[in-house]
Structures are given as structure tokens and as C-alpha cells.
């Protein structure tokens, strides 16, 4: 019994520490943001993102170590000593040290890219490992650039690596990007994709843009050889509800790995001047059929707001506002229902769980299979929204006194479901669980799995 109490106390403390860390982190980010506004307004002083001094040594010879280390690529006829030297003198900025950024950085460092810059504001956590292969168990809680830098220096101690622990925004982006030759977009959100594209047009840097979700990947090089920019292709940002992130949609590590490795390849081609760079073409990878397709994409849009001859946008803007989305892939908590129309997980456990009720879990079946509350039935949100659930629960729904509880992973989809079911059955008691299964783990049953 004592051990049980200790175990509970440990779990509670761990949770409290995690919450305090999160609160501290969010305050630090707010402070960073304000700092950047101040430093952008003031004359540009010394700051860690400032471009390196132009005295960077220009290498004209390979060392014996270089020759031994890179021998297998040195003997490639189109690459050779000149290619290796170009790589050694090059600098690449990788934005996002996640599923794309890790393999991209790994191949660039291994191939002998002289200078790498790594940008990410986030910290390493366990759910990263399946695809973010530079981070490891021992570095949970480290910032991603620092963790990646640690792993990369083990791989190639000759690579100079700078960590930029920053959420890239309109105040710091130009300053950070300026000193690099090539930029890799390994980010996970729409706002950062527009920011990087605009900034790379303004600074005339090629942008190797990769993305991946579920089993799909895409890759192209923007702003290269008079080709289009991201805005030429997508002048209007997509509506928020049509954008799925990896946390919700899932993604296979080998898929992000495929695209990330190809981003490194395109960067090397751009730097060395090798082969045909993937510009003016969009590569589409379907991991489920292992099909690669090349789509010939448009030329520059003649009236592009940024890269045309008469641009309307000549300095960076507020991309979160432009996109109506935050520059991260975290889900914001939604409040579609008033608190009185909802139920705390503790209240559910204490007052309702032992009574007759209908508990409907609206997550997709693959997620329901991972874990579920006792007595829960799975009706994916899509089946709620198209009313196909009505037939399934016909007789139970006739009883107005049977409370209906809807739940999901975090308590967002369940609110949409409540609104919909309530419009069909206005006389019933229909509520959802605030915070969903995450709240259940955090406040009722710490042994319930979290994903």
C-alpha cells in the first residue's frame, strides 16, 4: 500500500514538474518574442543569430582526413574534389529539426557540408523518436537544435554547427537566413512555409522545400534558376480545417526519412552544381504504393505578390495572421461549448461511470484500438456528422433520460460531435469530456496510455 502511495505521488510530481516546465517555457517564448521586437527596433547589436563575420576561411585544399572520409563520393566523376570543396565551403540552414530536418542534417553533415545552422524552438520528447532519428532517450527535454547538434558532431566533428533555438518569425528570419547559402524548409506548419518562402525571395536564397504527412511526401526547390516561389503555387493559404498535422494525422518515419534524405540530395546538387535540380517540378511520393511522380509546375506567377518584378510585399509580414494559424503544429484547445455543457473527467468518473449511460468515443478506429475507456463504443466523428450513427443506436436514442457522453483524445472533436448530436436530439442530455483522454490520464488514471 505504501508503495502504491509513493507511486501516485511520483506520478503527480512528474506531472506538476512537466506543467511548470511548460509554463516556464511559454513565458520564455513570450519574452524572446518581445526581446526580438526590441532588438529589431533598435540598431542591430550583437546577437547570437547575427551573420558570421565575412572572414570565414575559404578552403582550397582537402585534408588527408577529408580524402579518407569522403573517398566514396570523391570518386564520383560529377562530384570530385571540386564538389567536395564547394560542400566544405558551403553553409546550409535547416528550419525544423523534426522528421525531415533530422535525416536532411544527417546526410549533409556526413557528406561534409562545412557549416550547418539548425532552427527549432521545440524540445525533444518520446513521441519524436520514431521519425526524428538524431534525438535519443538520453536527450529528452533538450532543445532539438542542441540535441541534433550533439548527434551530428559525433557523426562528423569537422562540421561547424550553429543552434538557433528560436521560433522563426518576421523579426528574426532575415537576420538568421542571411549568412547561409541554401535553406531547407523542414517545418511542420503553413505559416512558417510562407515566411521562409518570402524571406528566401527577399534574400535570393534557394529554398529546398520538403513536407510529409501520413504516407505522402512532397518535394521541390523554390526560388532557384528563375523558378517559382511557394506563393506562385499557393497565393492563398489553405483554410485551417483543411490542414492536418502529424500529431493528428500520423506519419511514418520512413516517409519523412525519404523526403528528408532527398532534401539533402537537392541541397548538395544546388551547392555543387550537379545534375538537374528539382526546380520547376514537384516530386510527389506516395509511400503506400511506392510511386514517385514528377509534376511539371508553373513558371513564376507574373503578378506574384513577392517574387514578381513589381512585388506588393517587400518586407516580411505577420504570417500567423496571414494564414489564420499558429506557426507550430500543436493543437490549440477549442471552446465551442460553454463549460456548463461539458463534463470534467473527474465528475464523469464519480457521478456517471457507475450509472446507465451511453459513452461514445468519436476518435478514428485506429486510435480507438490503441486505448479506450470501459464501456465506450467507437463512432468516428465522420459517422456522427453524416448521421449514420442514428440507425446504429436507434432504440437507445429513443430514451431521453439516458445520458449521452461523447469523448475524444483531447476534447476538441467531442465538442463538434456534441453540437451535431444535440441538434438532432435537443431533449437529451448530451455532454462531452473536457480534455478528453489526455485529461483522464492526467487527473484520473495515470496508468492510462497517452499518445
Amino acid at each position: 500500500m505504501i508503495e502504491l502511495g509513493v507511486e501516485e505521488e511520483r506520478t503527480k510530481l512528474k506531472r506538476e514538474i512537466a506543467e511548470l516546465r511548460a509554463a516556464l517555457y511559454s513565458k520564455e517564448q513570450s519574452l524572446l518574442y518581445l526581446d526580438e521586437i526590441v532588438s529589431a527596433a533598435a540598431a542591430r547589436g550583437v546577437d547570437e543569430d547575427a551573420p558570421e563575420s565575412p572572414t570565414r576561411t575559404l578552403h582550397t585544399k582537402l585534408t588527408n582526413d577529408d580524402i579518407a572520409r569522403y573517398s566514396r563520393q570523391l570518386i564520383l566523376p560529377d562530384f570530385g574534389v571540386q564538389g567536395q570543396l564547394k560542400l566544405k565551403n558551403s553553409s546550409v540552414l535547416i528550419v525544423g529539426m523534426g522528421g525531415l530536418g533530422c535525416p536532411a542534417a544527417q546526410y549533409l553533415a556526413a557528406a561534409g557540408c562545412g557549416h550547418l545552422g539548425l532552427v527549432d524552438y521545440d524540445h525533444v520528447e518520446r513521441s519524436n523518436f520514431h521519425r526524428q532519428i538524431l534525438h535519443s532517450e538520453t536527450r529528452v527535454g533538450w532543445t532539438k537544435p542542441d540535441s541534433a547538434r550533439f548527434a551530428l558532431l559525433e557523426l562528423n566533428p569537422h562540421c561547424e554547427i550553429r543552434s538557433h533555438v528560436r521560433l522563426l518569425n518576421r523579426f528574426n528570419a532575415l537576420n538568421i537566413i542571411r549568412s547561409y547559402d541554401v535553406v531547407l524548409d523542414c517545418s511542420d506548419n503553413v505559416a512558417t512555409r510562407y515566411l521562409l518562402s518570402d524571406a528566401c525571395v527577399m534574400l535570393q536564397k534557394p529554398l529546398v522545400s520538403g513536407s510529409a504527412l501520413k504516407m505522402d511526401g512532397q518535394l521541390t526547390v523554390y526560388n532557384y534558376a528563375n523558378g517559382p516561389c511557394y506563393r506562385c503555387l499557393y497565393p492563398v493559404p489553405p483554410p485551417k480545417e483543411s490542414v492536418t498535422n502529424c500529431g493528428d494525422g500520423g506519419v511514418l518515419g520512413a516517409v519523412t526519412g525519404t523526403i528528408g534524405a532527398m532534401q539533402a540530395l537537392e541541397a548538395i546538387k544546388v551547392i555543387v552544381g550537379l545534375g538537374d535540380v528539382l526546380a520547376g517540378r514537384l516530386l510527389i511520393f506516395d509511400g503506400s504504393t511506392s510511386l514517385f511522380r514528377n509534376i511539371r509546375i508553373r513558371n513564376k506567377r507574373p503578378n506574384c505578390h513577392v517574387c514578381s518584378a513589381q512585388p506588393l510585399i517587400t518586407q516580411l509580414i505577420d504570417y500567423e495572421m496571414f494564414c489564420g494559424m499558429r506557426a507550430n503544429d500543436k493543437d490549440a484547445e477549442q471552446n465551442l461549448l460553454s463549460v456548463g455543457d461539458r463534463l470534467k473527467v473527474k465528475e464523469y468518473q464519480e457521478q456517471l461511470q457507475t450509472q446507465q449511460h451511453l459513452l461514445i468515443d468519436v476518435r478514428p478506429p485506429a486510435e480507438f484500438e490503441i486505448c479506450q475507456l470501459p464501456g465506450a463504443v467507437n463512432v468516428p466523428l465522420a459517422e456522427i456528422l453524416d448521421d449514420s450513427y442514428i440507425k446504429r443506436f436507434g432504440s437507445q436514442l429513443e430514451d431521453k433520460d439516458l445520458p449521452i457522453i461523447l469523448l475524444c483524445r483531447r476534447g476538441n472533436d467531442s465538442q463538434i460531435a456534441v453540437q451535431h448530436v444535440r441538434s438532432r436530439f435537443p431533449k437529451h442530455s448530451i455532454r462531452d469530456l473536457i480534455g478528453g483522454l489526455h485529461a483522464w490520464t492526467n487527473t484520473v488514471d495515470p496508468s492510462f496510455p497517452i499518445y
Binding site: G96, G99, N189, S211, P237, I295, R296
Partner: protein
Amino acid sequence: MPTDGPVVNVHVLFFAKSRELARTPRSEVDVPAQIVASELLEQLVARFDLTSIRDNLILAHNETYIENLSDKIHFKEGDELAIIPPLSGG
């Protein structure tokens, strides 16, 4: 799809979000052998529930981006149309 004039059968391929919305990775559709791209887009959007991504997708005919929606597209039997929304994850 509504027609006047000759009709041909084309393969439509759906990628990423459009595959979810259309609930299929591919489909075969009868289209007019000549059609203005914007009209074609409207018909595809209506038929495959693509309203939420209609302004943010690449429409490619035989692996070539349809650059101008006011252009007239000429289809041959068995041509391929791809619907490609952007991916933003990583």
C-alpha cells in the same frame, strides 16, 4: 459530368487531403473532350467533395500543372488528371 459534344474517359488521381475528401485514391470520370479548366475544377470539386481545398490545389493534366484556369483543356481518352493539395507537415 454534364456534357455537350464529345466525351472522353479520364483517370483522376487524388493525393493527400483530396484522397481523404474523395474517399478514394483514384477514379474514372467522363469529361468533355474540351472544357475550360475552371469549369472542370468546379465539376471535380462538386463531385468529390473538395470544397474545403478548392483554392489551394494543383490540378495537373498528364503530369503538367494547369497554369491558367481560363485555359481550355483538350482531353484524350485515358488521360490522367491529378489533384494535388499542398502538404505542410514534417
